[in-house]
């Protein structure tokens, strides 16, 4: 395919454009779900990692590569399901109309960019955590470039010391939404 940062950069661009088209009253609800999903996955991450040896030995016959691929897919599929749920069906929209141009579209673009960063960054993080298992399927090209290595430090899960941090903006936004 191509360098890791290019692939995830394309994901960011797509989600930013979707956010721009949906406008930020809808995108804010998606942001809440994404942040909550990041919190939940980060919260259970260590517990799941503790089980990796057991999974490797009992289910996959000691195949470390397959274990990494399986675990990364478990995390990523769970995350994608949460993100998909936030976009489809009954969504957690915010009431009210967006600000008029140019503020409104610019804010939509910024919130879309934030969502894009959170989604692409999380997918990248689980690839990095498990040693880029998608490489074996030919979807990712390694080694990382210098830029890619620098960006790894900026992935969402590497920003905060504790996953609890993610719940603070979620709580604030939920209070705001309930208040109306």
């Amino acid at each position: 395919m191509g360098p890791v940062e290019v692939i995830f950069g394309v994901v960011v661009v797509f989600i930013t454009l979707i956010g721009f088209a949906r406008t930020y009253p809808k995108e804010l609800g998606t942001t809440i779900i994404i942040l909550a999903a990041i919190f939940v996955l980060s919260f259970v991450e260590e517990r799941v990692l503790n089980l990796s040896d057991t999974v490797q030995n009992t289910l996959l016959g000691g195949d470390a590569e397959a274990t990494n691929l399986l675990l990364s897919l478990v995390f990523e599929i769970l995350f994608i399901v949460a993100v998909f749920a936030s976009y489809a069906g009954i969504t957690l929209d915010f009431a009210g109309r967006p600000a008029p141009p140019p503020q409104g579209p610019l804010i939509s673009l910024a919130v879309g960019l934030l969502n894009g960063y959170l989604v692409a960054g999380t997918l990248w993080y689980y690839q990095q955590l498990f040693g880029y298992p998608l490489q074996s399927l030919g979807l990712i090209q390694l080694p990382l470039t210098a830029r890619g290595q620098a960006w790894v430090e900026l992935l969402p899960q590497n920003l905060f010391e504790s996953p609890v941090y993610w719940m603070i903006p979620v709580a604030v936004l939920l209070i705001w939404r309930v208040r109306g």
Binding site: F94, A95, G96, P98, P102, L114, L159
Partner: protein
Amino acid sequence: MSGQFEVLITFLLYIAFFGWIGYLRGTLSEGIVFGVALTAWLILQEQGDIFVRVINLGSKGIAFVQAGGLGENPDEAFGAISSASPWVTADTRGGFLFVLWAFLLFLTYIVTGPRFLGKKSRGDGWSVILGVLNGLLYATILLPRLVLLLQPAEITDAADGATSSISSFFGILGGGVDLLRGSLGGLWEIFEPSQQSLILLILLTLFLLLVAGSLRGGTRKA
């Protein structure tokens, strides 16, 4: 770092000032001023010789009249035309075109003022953006000349070059972005990692709150 930070603050103040002026004057006024300032600047840079020839034609006309060209025997006056020295020479061409541009800009500011446009020009987000663009355009054109007052010998060439290409406009814009990135990067390193996390969290929460607060007519959803 501290010097760069001061430059950054100055740059932000400059941008904020023009953004504020833009908001006060409104979108229509700022749009007209930006259009006139940019178009006039480009035309004067690319086709400035036309205006130089027109003004020099005036000098020949005056010489013709002074030599009795409007009298009964204008033949001698025609000879005076060829010997008349032009008002704008190659040395003064740059200064003349700059003064012409400044005069046009001054006139445009008067014409697009509240006395003429009244309440037709209203302040909004677009007017702020147009104000900032005007500020960047003026910086592109005026800054090299202002610095020339302090360091004439070193940057004469730079001043000439700065007014001859539109790339200098994007140069100022790119320089501003680089300055912002460099200064914020330097400022960021002052904090310890644990403090950085906290600051990021506060910024993220504030950003989301501001976004949610910008929604209009928000009522509780059923």
